[in-house]
Amino acid sequence: MANFVKLVQNENMKIYRRVGTWVMLGILILLPILVSTLLYFAGQDDGSKVTGFEMMQVDAIFAFMLVTIFSVIIASGSVASEFSWGTIKLLLIRPWSRTSILLSKFIALVLFLLLTSIIAYLTCFFVNLAFFGATNAVDEVIPELNAGAGVMFRELGEFVWTEFVATLVIASFSFMLSAALRSNGLAIGLSLAIVFLSDAFASLFLMIDQPWIKFVLFLNLDLMQFMNGHTGPIDDDPMSLGFAVGVLAAYFVIFNAISLLVFRKRDVAA
């Protein structure tokens, strides 16, 4: 059997040979630059100067919202587009199991998420370093943040990897919908609804006084709320970072197991 890497290469070709993908990557680089330029010239409303680290965090929130949206778009199209283009019929009649083909698609998706995360990370860091320098307001909680660019890079990295993990779970959800529903639009729509309504759902579940709510996806998606000694959204039921990552891992496994099951069994008709 031929090299599995070539399958991933194929999936990459189908992602990066499309204009839309490059538009996404362009927006991802431009947005932090625009936001920082605006703040650089406009300044803050109280007249104080914005600092580099603050702006890195602001930009990163925007940038990772884009990373999530773009990953959802790629994930939703991955399987569904092959069906809508009709190319699935030529893709599946090759000497590869359906498991291998789905896995190659998923790996290409993870690579895309990794690429966009790194682009967002580096853009947010270097753009603001260039605009504002390694400056940070004196922070009583984390005073060592004034210690320079290296520390800022590490602190920003913390936000980046928590976003990466959460987006991986959401992208897996989109990927599952893509494989199960074979409808690109529906998969994108439902996934983005989850992303944007996540906080609303979280507060809804927080109103329920039951021990099982700590296993709800929405209460575990934002890993920052378990960092630096925080114990999560539920006041009387503290959760650890390890616990939250474990819950997310369980959802990750479930979503991808369903994708695989559906994709392997599905008859390709019409």
Binding site: M1, N10, T87, L90, R94, P95, K265, D267, A269
Partner: protein
């Protein structure tokens, strides 16, 4: 046909819900033959083909390609198959070459040289680096043939290959299929509901109706037999059909059909009839045997009301 079949269908059955779409279909296709798979729309041709290439699962029965079951040994079975299932859908945002490269990467047997070879084979060398969205339907069809032939399959499966092709394209495809069947001993399985076309293309046809094979027959080599049958309808174009009818005095079931004199006769009787007519002073302008086309036979078998 003493050779081992390339593909063997053994009691293939497909049940969707409570409906039996395909009911115990069995047939073999041998190297070097063009095998037609014929049936009205909705008879199950495409479903059977999709089961052969692993796009749909079998409910029961088995399909073996070069001895490997598509159920248990799919990659080893499918590696011998090249296929176009309905229209050859390609990635429109990729060039023709990138499309071929995509499928080539999935098969260890295909080299860069082989890709070039098939591009020239289907005559796309001038346009291969254009995006597929700029291709005409005929060019897409050729690209479809190229991806199907690239890995030198032992079985070529084409589902409704002439859909959307112009007459020249159909003829080209027909000649090409016959050529590779003969020269490279490829078994070709073609499905269609266009009977006249299948008649020109195929060595054998299986006729499918409501999910069951109702007949498998050879097409080629039968012509001589047809012409010597006693009950062939023979048409005489004459100047006075009514007078001619009188001359024959009702022998050979003579009658007038569409202004022509029609009789049922074998070869020697045709000559004898002609002599009688000429001797009676009737001018004979033409004689032709009305052969039953595949279409007539097909309609006879399936009943015309079932044609979709």
């Amino acid at each position: 046909m003493s050779l081992a079949p390339v593909v063997r269908l053994d009691n293939v059955t497909k049940v969707i819900g409570k409906r039996t779409i395909i009911d115990r279909v069995s047939f073999d296709v041998y190297p070097g033959e063009v095998f037609g798979f014929l049936g009205p729309n909705g008879s199950g041709k495409t479903t059977t083909i999709r089961m052969m290439v692993g796009l749909m699962a079998l409910t029961s029965g088995d399909i073996q390609i070069e001895g490997h079951s598509v159920k248990t040994d799919f990659p080893k079975a499918i590696v011998h198959v090249g296929a176009i299932v309905e229209n050859p859908e390609m990635y429109k945002f990729l060039t023709g070459y990138q499309n071929l490269l995509h499928y080539a990467r999935m098969n260890p047997a295909v080299t860069k040289e082989r890709i070039q070879e098939v591009i020239e084979l289907v005559g796309l060398q001038d346009r291969i680096h254009d995006k597929v969205k700029k291709y005409s339907l005929g060019m897409r069809q050729r690209l479809g043939v190229a991806q199907a032939m690239m890995h030198r399959p032992k079985l070529l499966v084409l589902d409704e290959p002439t859909n959307g092709l112009d007459p020249a394209g159909i003829r080209e495809l027909r000649d090409y299929l016959r050529k590779i069947a003969q020269d490279e001993s490829v078994a070709v399985l073609v499905s269609s509901h266009l009977l006249s076309e299948m008649e020109l293309m195929c060595d054998r046809v299986a006729i499918l109706q409501k999910g069951q094979i109702i007949d498998v027959r050879s097409i080629r080599g039968d012509d001589a037999a047809v012409h010597t049958q006693a009950d062939n309808e023979v048409l005489f174009e004459v100047d006075h059909p009514d007078a001619a009818l009188g001359v024959l005095e009702g022998s050979y079931g003579a009658r007038i059909a569409d202004g022509l004199l029609s009789i049922k006769a074998d070869r020697s009787s045709v000559a004898a009839t002609n002599r009688r007519l000429v001797e009676a002073g009737i001018n004979v302008y033409g004689i032709r045997v009305k052969t039953k086309t595949l279409e007539d036979q097909f309609l006879e078998m399936t009943g015309s009301e079932h044609i979709g």
